[in-house]
Symmetry: C2
Amino acid sequence: MHEKLYLEDLYVGQKFKSRDHQLDAAQIIAYAQQFDPQVFHLDPEAAKHSFFQGLAASGWHTASISMRLVTESIPLADGVIGGGMEELAWPQPTRPDDALHVESEIVEIIPSQSKPNRAMVRVLCETKNQRGEVLQRFRPKMISFKRPMA
Amino acid sequence: MHEKLYLEDLYVGQKFKSRDHQLDAAQIIAYAQQFDPQVFHLDPEAAKHSFFQGLAASGWHTASISMRLVTESIPLADGVIGGGMEELAWPQPTRPDDALHVESEIVEIIPSQSKPNRAMVRVLCETKNQRGEVLQRFRPKMISFKRPMA
């Protein structure tokens, strides 16, 4: 288990790396049936004749797996809480044989003006596959809290 | 069923509205167990003492439901294919009793310089609940294709 991190433990340039998550066609299809039921996410054969030229994960599936890996690899003491993304891009499709991991780096820490016990932490994250290809690039804004007074 | 839309059918200012999706605690917890296993998305009782002061859906769950509603309500002939978001924000938490719908509007259509049969379509989407409160604001860039030659 990681040590839990408070605001005092964070610094610009701090890096985090997640474990690998092995994807497969069944996971891609299960997510798509529920949230993104389009032929190129559902049917490996029909997908060959689509824009993606083969089965591809929904971008939101890649994002969902990435969130799981972020929650595991950035051990903020009060949890990973974000108000949104400054950027979310899928430079190339996620494929059934991909093993995904997320690399994150803190780029800025902005103390709250009104609430002295917290800050907004700007993070750059990249989801990569086993060949180091970037499948998702995202820049979340997370809230971090100071260690509670004893 | 909607008519399928090609690039020639799209125009700036065109609006789309989805059906409602009724959320509940079981859906929130099931998504969180798989993709965002944090206490404020998993345990209604413990969530009361968290930042969210009650059970809240993962932002990525709101995003996933929103994608389903977008695929149903923007009937692009070749599917909803996007390379990313120019913005993704969750102005307030999504709650178990929320009924979500998505309102979308085309804000710009940018013809491809290199591929004359396609364009990049910039869309502004808002996911709202039954009280009209904005739960998610996102600005996808979608690809649209011209009607094939006969």
